[in-house]
Amino acid sequence: MATVLVMVLALMTMQALMLFNVGTTTAVAAIQDKIDIAVYFKRAASEDSMLALKKTVERLPQVKNVEYVSSDEALADFKQRHLTDLTINQALAELNQNPLPGSLNIKANDPNDYALIAAYLDKNAPAGLIEKVTYSQHKNAIDRLNKFVDTLNRMGLAVTLFLAFAASLVAFNTIRLAIYSNRDEIGIMRLVGGSNMFIKGPYLVTGIMYGFFGALVAIILMAPIANIINPYLVRLVPEVQLETYFYAHIFPLFGYMMLFGAGLGIISSWIATRRYLRV
């Protein structure tokens, strides 16, 4: 019983780690998708020179795509967003010239490359073309998010390994005790010619069963947990649908946990029978 309990704990953390990984990968991807570098051109920059820069930047291997927003489009977009704001509309009407610059929105394949791209623009863009490049806030935010995810992953892995080790020890000890309390029977089995597998088999099966039941309990426990925390997660990052993912992948999840649990169980029982069940 205690053996299954510790096994469940180990498998639960493993499961949480797997789900957490899916969640953070989705969340990071979603956030990364929203960010980019914006290059704002000087008012005086010609459309040709802006498009020429777009072409150059597009050829960089780190760049995923580049979107050119002309100063007219920027204005239209701006107006669209402030349709109801009378003061802004009035102010715009009083200006006889479009105050918004043209810009490039650059998306990189890897968020770590934004610094590189920014440096490239700094060095290679024709002088007097670029007003400013905004990326640094994004980069910091992404760096921090990545670090946070990394740390949590590592902690989760450490806890999983630790609990897996604990589960193995407990399983090992349980099987050792079972062998000890059955020693008379085992001795007689040997005397009447029980084969190695006949004597050891039940203990190995027991080890596998710990893994199987551990995985079963872990998956059953996870269902309500996913149900409870899902709304909070969705509020945090709308793209992360923990519950949907959980039910969509319930069999692979169960399979991995069972393999892992049964693996732990059979290794523990194998060592225990090797040490305490010499035939």
């Binding site: 008379d184 029977e185 001795g187 007689i188 089995m189 040997r190 005397l191 009447v192 010619g193 029980g194 084969s195 190695n196 006949f198 035939v279």
Partner: protein, 227 residues
């Protein structure tokens, strides 16, 4: 059938179990192994069934060379032997029937065989009415008869008995020896380790006498003579 060739056994604590033992037992023989406590009778039996490894020498058992067997062959060999001990070694949570059946189950024999043979053997040892009794509901003599039933249920070529009468009174001892003689009459080789002088002298069979791990006497129709 059984052959010991210059076998010695020194235990890890340097106690001498056997010293340069050689003898042969032919199929169908009834051999008594006698000697004082500590003479090495149990050691000899443990080596024969592969429970201990010899320090030196070779032990042949039928086609097997016991000291070279791997565990799978060892269990095959043990299925050709029936063993009886002084302390019965019955499983307390199994009935007489189940204890006897256990030897067949371990060998992977079908239930039909169990249902057929176990009552026959219990009949032969005179316990058909006690088949559903647990060991703590049986007398010492009855327990030993269950143990003998278990030792012979799979028709072994050899039955080995290590002090089977050590915990029994004279009448029960005689019953057990009679059973062993009957088993022997059916063609099974019997090796009986004992220090019961009366029994050995009555048997008038081959006697191997041991002192301090050595064979000091090996006579057909022998007597219990230990100095």
């Amino acid at each position: 059938m059984i052959q010991f060739i210059n076998v010695s056994k020194i235990y890890e604590n340097r106690a001498v179990g056997l010293e340069d033992i050689s003898f042969t037992i032919k199929p169908g023989e009834f051999v008594s192994l006698v000697g004082r406590s500590g003479a090495g009778k149990s050691t000899l039996i443990k080596l024969l069934i592969g429970e201990e490894k010899p320090t030196k020498g070779r032990i042949l058992f039928g086609a097997y060379e016991v000291n070279k067997l791997r565990s799978t062959e060892m269990s095959q060999l043990r299925r050709q032997v029936g063993i009886v001990f002084q302390d019965f070694r019955l499983l307390a949570n199994k009935t007489a029937f189940e204890n006897v059946a256990f030897a067949l189950e371990v060998g992977g024999r079908p239930q039909s065989e169990i249902d057929e043979f176990v009552p026959q053997v219990l009949e032969m040892v005179g316990l058909p009415s006690k088949r559903n009794h647990f060991p703590n509901q049986l007398s010492g003599g009855e327990k030993q008869r269950v143990a003998i039933a278990r030792a012979m249920i799979h028709h072994p070529a050899v039955v080995i008995a290590d002090e089977p009468t050590g915990n029994l009174d004279d009448i029960n001892s005689e019953e057990i020896i009679k059973l062993l003689l009957r088993i022997n009459e059916l063609g099974t080789t019997v090796l009986l380790a004992t220090h019961n002088k009366e029994i050995v002298n009555k048997l008038k069979r081959r006697v191997i006498s041991m002192v301090d791990g050595r064979i000091v006497r090996d006579e057909p129709n022998g007597k219990y003579i230990i100095m």
